[in-house]
């Protein structure tokens, strides 16, 4: 069980590190267009040519033929690790031009093909993941901080405060959340700078989501507060702060972690859905959502299957987080019994 949790956390770390170092992992700029290569399929990695097998993979350039793209086999481009390419800002701080992998110009390595503007889909998935996943994490933080604070207050002080907070959660839960999300989005300005859109979006998603964690934490606090050892502590004159710090917070923390692992994928999906609708992060900046929104045209959806790549990335991220939540949950349960 512990090994599984560790493996999942390791996988998530690698995933997030990759997104954090997007400039390094992605071979090209996410916004560099190449109109000659619109909707090019993924580049095939070759290990064999007429001279025999090679250990180092190589690629061919795409050439436009009457019926789509064909490989121009007259010249092979070797794929190598740690190559110099276009320059970018590492972590948004210092200039760098080193990339994890690449090939020599004019050859191109397009792992997931290109979109309609000829932009490298793989690079866009990596950069877009930065935005989508960050949105999920920040929104989760907002929801959990707000929800656990209110939930704790409601559970600890009870009476009218409890009534008020629980009434508010019921209000927030009585709207289908996607309608709610759209509704709140409708009241905000439509065209904003990407950074402001990002912050507004995460705030909205987080603010709408506080109700569920608040209910969970409230129930937990209520049950902890009535336990004998906590009652005893209060009887011996422990202050409220002491009880919260010593007895309530440790138990709540474990539950909050599980809750975070559950909420993050949901909120990533929320960002993706909003951007998919054209209400989130806008072009040319990539996010998994606005990349997928091109697929609303049936012709694109059926002809260019590689454009489903962001959906695949979303799927992997989401499933990993859910597995982690499951592992954390069963750990909590086994500890409490």
């Amino acid at each position: 069980m512990r090994i599984r949790t560790a493996a999942l956390i390791g996988l998530l770390l690698v995933l997030h590190l990759g997104l954090l170092l997007a400039g390094f992992v992605a071979p090209y700029s996410p916004i560099a267009q190449n109109r000659q290569l619109s909707y090019a399929p993924p580049t095939k990695l070759h290990f064999r040519d007429y001279t025999g097998w090679h250990l180092r993979p190589f690629v061919y350039e795409w050439m436009i033929a009457p019926d789509g793209y064909v490989e121009d086999q007259s010249r092979a481009y070797p794929v190598s690790l740690f190559v110099k390419g276009h320059s970018y800002k590492m972590l948004g701080l210092f200039d760098a031009s080193l990339h994890l992998f690449g090939t020599t110009e004019p050859g191109k390595i397009l792992l997931f093909g290109t979109d309609g503007f000829g932009r490298d889909e793989f690079s866009r998935v990596v950069y877009g993941g930065q935005i989508s996943v960050a949105a999920g994490i920040v929104a989760t933080l907002i929801a959990l901080i707000l929800g656990s604070t209110l939930g704790m207050i409601a559970g600890y002080y009870g009476r009218w405060l409890d009534e008020a907070v629980m009434g508010a959660t019921e209000l927030f839960l009585s709207l289908p959340w996607l309608y709610f999300l759209l509704g709140v989005r409708a009241f905000l300005p439509l065209h904003l700078s990407p950074l402001r859109t990002f912050f507004l979006l995460t705030c909205v998603v987080g603010l709408i989501g506080w109700a569920k964690p608040a209910r969970l934490i409230r129930g937990l606090v209520l049950s902890i507060r009535s336990r004998n050892y906590v009652l005893a502590a209060t009887g011996f004159g422990a202050s409220n702060l002491y009880v919260v710090r010593r007895h309530i917070a440790p138990e709540v923390m474990g539950n909050l972690l599980t809750q975070a692992a559950l909420l993050i994928p949901q909120y990533i999906a929320a960002e993706v859905t909003l951007s998919f609708f054209g209400l989130g992060v806008s072009e040319p900046l990539p996010s998994w959502g606005n990349m997928l929104s091109n697929l609303q045209q049936y012709s694109v959806l059926t002809s260019y299957r590689w454009l489903m790549a962001p959906a695949g990335a979303l799927l992997i991220t989401s499933v990993t987080y859910y597995l982690l939540a499951d592992a954390l949950h069963s750990r909590l349960k086994s500890r409490s019994t």
């Binding site: 289908p176 309608y179 509704g183 989005r185 997928l292 989401s318």
Partner: protein, 325 residues
């Protein structure tokens, strides 16, 4: 009956709260529908303020809220600025389609998930149970957008099901029955997506609640007395396990409504979803608020329906034996 009355009043209060929330949002939110008109030099500021006055946007929000409440009482939801028609008929024409989709998806979901969850719980620990648990967990973990897009891609690519809209282009000439089956065919894909997503959740809940009942002492006692398995399950386990499942009904409606918004947009089903999306993009205030209120109404109505069912199925609530909460 007192129980239902109590619930009813609660629902009304909830709806009032939701409407107040909506109006507070409009007050906090910067910008309005007319912002882009203001940038247009051809429209004079006087025209805009006249239009604002016509839509009542120049008054303070408590006044507007009061007027809006009064008009709601007359089943008038205001005026859509972008469509230039009253909101209520516009919403209703789309809400019918959403209801058709959601309700049939809900019925199908329950038809699928109650037997599957029940069966998995009864065969606990066997291979089939593991399969049900794993598959449902996986479906829960996959985001709805991904499921919807994949289903759509499959349907379009292999031309399995018709997609887009609610009827074929040439459906006008068809007979009544053919028209209905045409709509049914178009409904199949969005319904399928919704049922897949929702039943994964319900199956897990049904399985859990049946498992809990199966552990109860009275079930062991009944078994020891030699009641046949079929009678035990249908007569003694199912009614008790139904209680938490019925409470879930309201919850599943929330999931279905949210899901249907996405699915409607993806599949081009002419329901509330695309309308709200367009209204959001056009900042059509009253239309958005109307849509929000309608979705809240559906949810609250679903909750009330679940409460009524509970009253019907659970004698403890009928006799007031258990606290109504």
């Amino acid at each position: 009956m007192r129980y239902l009355g109590f619930r009813f009043i609660r629902s009304i209060l909830l709806l009032l709260g939701v409407s107040l929330l909506c109006f507070l949002f409009t007050e906090i939110a910067p910008g309005s529908f007319f912002d882009e008109m203001r940038l247009n030099p051809q429209i004079s500021p006087e025209t805009i303020s006249a239009m604002e006055a016509r839509y009542g946007l120049d008054q303070p929000w408590p006044d507007r809220y009061w007027r809006w409440l009064r008009s709601i009482a007359r089943a008038d939801l205001g005026y859509s600025i972008s469509y230039n028609v009253p909101v209520a008929p516009l919403l209703w024409s789309r809400a019918k389609n959403t209801l058709l989709l959601t309700i049939s998806a809900m019925v199908l979901t329950w038809i699928v998930s109650v037997p599957v969850g029940f069966w998995a719980a009864v065969h606990r620990g066997r291979f089939a149970d593991h399969m049900v648990t794993v598959v449902s967990a996986l479906v829960v973990a996959i985001p709805e957008v991904v499921i919807a897009l994949s289903f759509l891609a499959i349907a379009v690519r292999w031309r399995i099901l018709p997609v887009g809209g609610m009827a074929s282009v040439d459906s006008d000439g068809l007979s009544f029955l053919a028209k209905q089956s045409d709509i049914g065919l178009h409904m199949l894909l969005p319904t399928l997506i919704l049922v897949t997503v929702e039943s994964a959740i319900i199956v897990r809940h049904v399985r859990a609640s049946v498992l809990e009942v199966l552990e109860a002492p009275y079930v062991h006692a009944a078994r020891a007395l030699g009641i046949s398995q079929v009678r035990l399950l249908l007569r003694h386990v199912l009614p008790v396990a139904a209680n938490p499942a019925i409470t879930l009904l309201g919850l599943s409606l929330a999931g279905l409504l949210s899901g249907s918004l996405l699915v409607e947009v993806v599949c081009g089903w002419p329901g509330l979803g695309p309308l709200i999306l367009e209204a959001t993009l056009a900042r059509d205030l009253y239309l958005v608020i109307g849509g929000l209120m309608l979705s809240a109404l559906f949810m609250v109505g679903g909750g009330l329906f679940a409460d009524a069912l509970l009253l019907l199925f659970d004698p403890r609530i009928r006799t007031g034996g258990v606290d109504a909460h």
